[in-house]
């Protein structure tokens, strides 16, 4: 870095004295900060601007007034910017807009509700009709079933009544006892595959046809 700082080397490089073609860059080159004054400007004394006291006072006055007015303007602008966001009127306007939007939404909602209500009424009417029909059908069915049940019960009652003719009652109990004592039935027997009945390991042959029928009934039972 030190040899780069040397004046001759740097200017030699800048002016391209080391190259065969002499290029001199004119724009965008500036004396580096660390180089001394140019030799041509070595003994130049810059002229100080001379401002008279009158002018200075005038300028002071002007600048002070300008600064104060600028301050007030800036404050006013800040205030305006703030009120544009949070001012009473602006907020009121926003609220009004929101209210209008809300109203619009409500209107849309009401319309929609009315539409839906119409459709629902229609649907409900149809459903009610269907339900009514269904209930009617069920009632008819139930009635029929009831009738059938009654008939079945009556049938049972009729059969019972028919059966009750052969019941043993107080009047005919003596006869029934006599009958039972007269016809003692011995159930202590065995049957083979052919349906023959054996009492006490002895085959008892029945010749009559009625006897055969009885025998078959017994086998079935």
């Amino acid at each position: 870095m030190q040899h780069f700082c040397k004046q001759e080397l740097l200017f030699g490089k800048l002016l391209c004295k080391t190259k065969p073609v002499n290029q001199q860059p004119v724009r965008f080159t500036r004396k580096p900060r660390w180089l001394p004054r140019a030799p041509s400007k070595m003994f130049r004394v810059p002229v100080r601007p001379k401002i008279s006291t009158e002018e200075r006072n005038e300028l002071f006055q002007l600048f002070t007034t300008y600064r104060t007015s600028m301050k007030s303007i800036k404050k006013q602008l800040e205030y305006e910017l703030e009120t544009s966001y949070t001012g009473q009127e602006v907020l009121q306007e926003i609220a009004n807009k929101e209210e209008a939007l809300w109203k619009k939404c409500l209107e849309i909602n009401d319309n929609w509700n009315a539409e839906v209500a119409l459709a629902r009424d229609e649907r409900l009417a149809i459903e009610r009709e269907a339900q009514r029909k269904l209930i009617l059908a069920q009632l008819i069915e139930k009635e029929e079933e009831k009738k059938k049940q009654l008939e079945a019960i009556e049938e049972i009652v009729r059969l019972e009544k028919e059966k009750s003719k052969s019941y043993i009652t107080v009047e005919n109990i003596d006869q029934a006892i006599d009958k039972a004592l007269d016809n003692i039935v011995n159930y202590k027997y065995a049957i083979d595959v052919a349906g023959n009945i054996y009492y006490n390991n002895e085959l008892e042959k029945q010749t009559t046809e009625t006897g055969k029928q009885q025998q078959q009934v017994k086998v079935v039972n």
Binding site: F28, L59, L62, T65, Y66, I73, L77, E80, L81
Partner: protein
């Protein structure tokens, strides 16, 4: 040296640069002309950035050369200037002068100063020419 200026980024000059909430901003002129033909954009940039840095927003233009009608044309986006002034952006002197002359702000003292200095200069010149002619 200054290579970053030669290697310019391809960004729109009308705005879209870095904007940090708490960083200081300045409204200034940036030169966009070519050699011997100055033309300026009035822009908001971060105050610490270079004069050719990518601006936050362009607020206007300024053509310092007079046209065939003898006018210097300035265009200003006053709404945005108001906004940025409210956001405490610093005004550079030439911009403040322009705004003062346009009637948006009070006239900058430098305008008065240059005016009276020019008047003085003209007067002295006239005096010297008078003395030269009389002698």
């Amino acid at each position: 040296m200054r290579a970053y200026r030669i290697l310019k980024k391809l960004l729109p000059s009308s705005g879209g640069g870095d904007d940090f909430e708490k960083a200081k901003k300045a409204i200034r002129l940036t030169r966009h002309g070519c050699a011997n033909r100055p033309f300026y954009h009035i822009v908001v940039v971060l105050q610490k950035r270079d004069c050719k840095a990518h601006p936050i927003e362009q607020l206007g233009t300024y053509d310092p050369l007079i046209n065939h009608n003898g006018e210097k044309l300035v265009s200003l986006n006053l709404e945005r200037i108001k906004y940025w002034m409210a956001k405490n952006a610093r005004l550079s002197n030439p911009v403040a002068e322009l705004l003062g002359l346009s009637g948006f702000l009070p006239i900058h003292p430098r305008t008065y100063m240059t005016a009276w200095r020019n008047r003085q200069k003209n007067q002295t010149e006239a005096n010297t020419s008078e003395t030269a002619t009389s002698s």
